[in-house]
């Protein structure tokens, strides 16, 4: 009994440790190396596009790229990962600035050690300048929400529900605030903390809509909240009837736009947020050239009319 178990233990060790050791040793020591640190938990599917984006840029530029994230989305853990990335001495770090208080210290430490930093996705141009990063590549969240709000106002909307699946990310919540300001109404209690679990999101949306039957529009903040919301609308029969806009794209969102359930999706083109920083950092390290301004990767409205390429690459590069 004892011998067999001991043998199993050793077998375990070999089976699992060997492939890991091999992936570990295959790290390319030569050439530029860039690390992208995100704030997203493992469960957030939107970031897959980012992973594909840096992988493609790494292949095209001939550089080594790595993707890191805190497994639970805890921003304090993310600060540790940035410190860790700094200690491993890459040529550059691409990171989000989801919480300035927590992340500015570690990022500034990286900058002061001679590592080039580009802020992507979350953050503002002012914060980017303040911590000494090269540039910001992303979509100004409030402005994007405001633009969406103006559009909805033009379509005659007067009340809405904002389904927020990342309540802890203050920057993303700006989308809801911008949307409300664009509509010219108060945000009040129309922002719903939905959590990350699809079943919970669906049921909370259903509950909100039955408690507030006069809600004219729904705004979701990404595929994580949009997909369950689609299901909820199919279930209570409001699909196609209620005005539905969403941030970001994904398979189901594209289908929703096609079938007319979703009026528009705001694409912030995450691909560019991952791809461009790698290209920019590589060229900066190799030839010393750098664009002179921040880059807005979005917002762009995706409607029924321009869907072919979007549909082909939804969830992969779009």
């Amino acid at each position: 009994m004892k011998k067999v178990n001991l043998f199993a233990t050793v077998a375990f060790l070999i089976v699992f440790a060997l492939p890991l050791a091999m992936t570990a040793t295959s790290v390319d020591a030569a050439g530029e190396r860039y690390i992208l640190v995100s704030h997203a938990p493992d469960s957030d599917s939107w970031w897959n596009t980012i992973k594909n984006g840096i992988a493609l840029a790494g292949k095209q530029m001939g550089v080594k790229v790595e993707y890191r994230n805190p497994p639970t989305g805890d921003l304090a853990d993310m600060a540790r990962i940035i410190e860790q990335a700094t200690a491993s001495k890459p040529n550059g770090i691409i990171t989000t600035l989801a919480d300035f208080d927590v992340l500015s210290g570690p990022i500034r430490n990286a900058v002061d050690q001679g590592i080039n930093v580009i802020i992507m996705n979350s953050g503002t141009p002012e914060q980017t300048r303040e911590i000494g990063a090269l540039m910001f590549v992303g979509q100004p969240e409030y402005d994007a929400g405001f633009a969406a709000g103006l559009r909805a106002k033009g379509d005659g909307i007067k009340s809405f529900l904002c389904v927020n699946h990342v309540i802890s990310n203050a920057v993303v919540a700006e989308r809801c605030r911008g949307f409300a300001d664009g509509l010219g109404i108060k945000l009040g209690s129309s922002m719903l903390d939905s959590g990350q679990d699809p079943a919970e999101i669906k049921n909370r949306v259903l509950a909100y809509l039955s408690a507030n039957p006069k809600t004219e529009a729904i705004l979701t903040l990404g595929p994580t909240s949009a997909d369950p919301t689609l299901l909820a609308l199919q279930e209570n029969g409001l699909a196609g009837d209620i005005y539905f806009g969403t941030f970001d794209l994904g398979d189901n969102i594209v289908k929703g736009i096609k079938s007319g359930v979703i009026q528009w999706g705001i694409d912030q083109q995450p691909f560019l947020q991952a791809y461009l920083p790698v290209v920019i950092l590589t060229n900066y390290d190799r030839y010393g050239v750098l664009p002179g301004n921040n880059i807005n990767s979005g917002p762009g409205f995706v409607t029924k009319d321009a869907l072919t390429l979007v549909e082909k690459y939804a969830g992969e590069y779009r």
Binding site: K2, N5, L6, A8, T9, F12, L13, F16, A17, L20, A21, T23, A24, T25, V27, A29, D42, E66, Y67, R68, N69, P71, T72, G73, D74, L75, A76, A79, R80, I81, E83, Q84, A85, T86, A87, S88, K89, D99, F100, D101, V102, G105, R108, N109, V111, D112, Q113, G114, G132, I167, S168, A170, A173, D193
Partner: protein, 374 residues
């Protein structure tokens, strides 16, 4: 742990002769000692050149390990006393938010905010314990309830008072405070500056802090971890109270018969666990200058995993604080080390699960060797 009474043979087995080597070998923490050695050898072989063993790299995984140690010490003592606390993670979020709200939003002095928060947390820990004792329900269920209650209260309190889920500005509020540096400060800064001046450790190459060492000093977080481990180990192995902890977890009824105040021991341990969570949260808030409603997510399991790697028994009555600390080090080094080694980050959980399984298998053997149980 139920141990069947054995009929005495020739001599009393309690005074059985044992070689010193054998005695040194069979300790609850043996498994985690092996784990620590294995983990370091592994990462030394695979990630030697990655900066993992540079001063900044060492500090990085040491801080993460120290964080785990702080909550693992509390979880370990509580687990030996036969109970669980699943509300540790939520307690971290709650106490961090409490400090930020009291000091930033209500404008209290930071030292008062910290002390009030500690009192509040330990009171909630005590309530946890009291409910477990009074209702006789498993602590698993009672603290699971508090996992949700505290997390929900944290988010509600933050949104109700400030309409935000992340509250910043604690750093400015803590400026010049006497208590804040005990949690968020750094020690030995002069020593590190001196090493930096001599070129022994790396310094910043640009910016306003050019010339200053990359590693400024030892964060107080690590001092807290060290102090808690020493205190916990002393309490458990050198005091009467330590024996009571073992007895309460081993067989509460038997312990009551011989006069151990089991209820008091368990409630005290719940309060101590809450205290540890509060130390964790305070150090985090003071370091980062902000509190978020989602801080500490899943930390209760990380604490329990550290304790189990360290050789403690889930059912109570057996374990060691040193083992739990070593378990926390294994956990911290693996978590950060995998990044250094360049392993695809989605494999982290696979690796963690394998380590947990291996540790439990190994620890089971060692425990059987110690207790003679078949």
């Amino acid at each position: 742990m139920s141990q069947t009474e054995q009929t005495p043979i020739a001599t009393d087995e309690r005074v059985k002769e044992m070689s010193d080597f054998h005695k040194a070998l069979i300790r609850p923490e043996l498994g985690s000692i092996c784990g620590v050695i294995l983990v370091f050898v592994f990462f030394f072989l695979t990630a030697r050149d990655s900066g993992m063993f540079s001063p900044a790299g060492v500090l990085n995984w040491s801080i993460v390990s120290a964080q785990f140690i702080i909550i693992a010490v509390g979880a370990c003592l509580l687990m030996i006393a036969g109970e669980f606390d699943l509300s540790v993670g939520s307690m971290i979020g709650f106490s961090g938010m409490s400090i930020a709200l009291l000091s930033v939003s209500f404008g209290w002095p930071v030292w008062l905010a910290i002390i009030v928060t500690f009192v509040l947390c330990m009171a909630i820990g005590g309530l946890n314990g009291w409910l477990v004792i009074k209702t006789g329900l498993p602590s698993f269920i009672v603290t699971l309830a508090f996992l949700f209650i505290l997390r929900g209260l944290t988010i509600f309190a933050a949104i109700a008072t400030t309409r935000k889920t992340i509250i910043g500005g604690v750093k400015d509020a803590a400026e010049g405070d006497w208590l804040a540096p005990i949690f968020g400060g750094k020690v030995l800064t002069g020593f590190f500056q001196w090493m930096g001046d001599n070129g022994w450790i790396e310094t910043f190459t640009r910016g306003t802090r050019e010339g200053q060492p990359v590693v400024e000093g030892i964060p107080m977080l690590m001092i807290w971890a060290l102090v808690l481990v020493i205190f916990g180990h002393w309490l458990l192995t050198k005091t009467k109270f330590g024996n009571w902890i073992f007895a309460s977890g081993g067989d509460a009824q038997a312990a009551r018969y011989v006069g151990v105040p089991v209820n008091r021991v368990k409630i005290t341990m719940f309060m101590f666990t809450a205290f540890c969570a509060c130390v964790f949260a305070t150090a985090q808030v003071m370091e980062f200058g902000s509190a978020g409603a989602d801080r500490g997510l899943l930390k209760e399991f990380e604490a329990i995993i550290s304790v189990v790697i360290g050789g403690a028994l889930l059912t109570g009555g057996y374990g060691s604080v040193i083992g739990a600390a070593l378990g926390a080090i294994v956990f911290g080094v693996v978590q950060q080390g995998l990044f250094f080694a360049g392993v695809e980050s989605s494999l982290f959980r696979v690796f963690l699960g394998v380590i947990l399984l291996l540790a439990v298998i190994l620890n089971t053997y060692i425990r059987r060797m110690i207790t003679g149980e078949k």
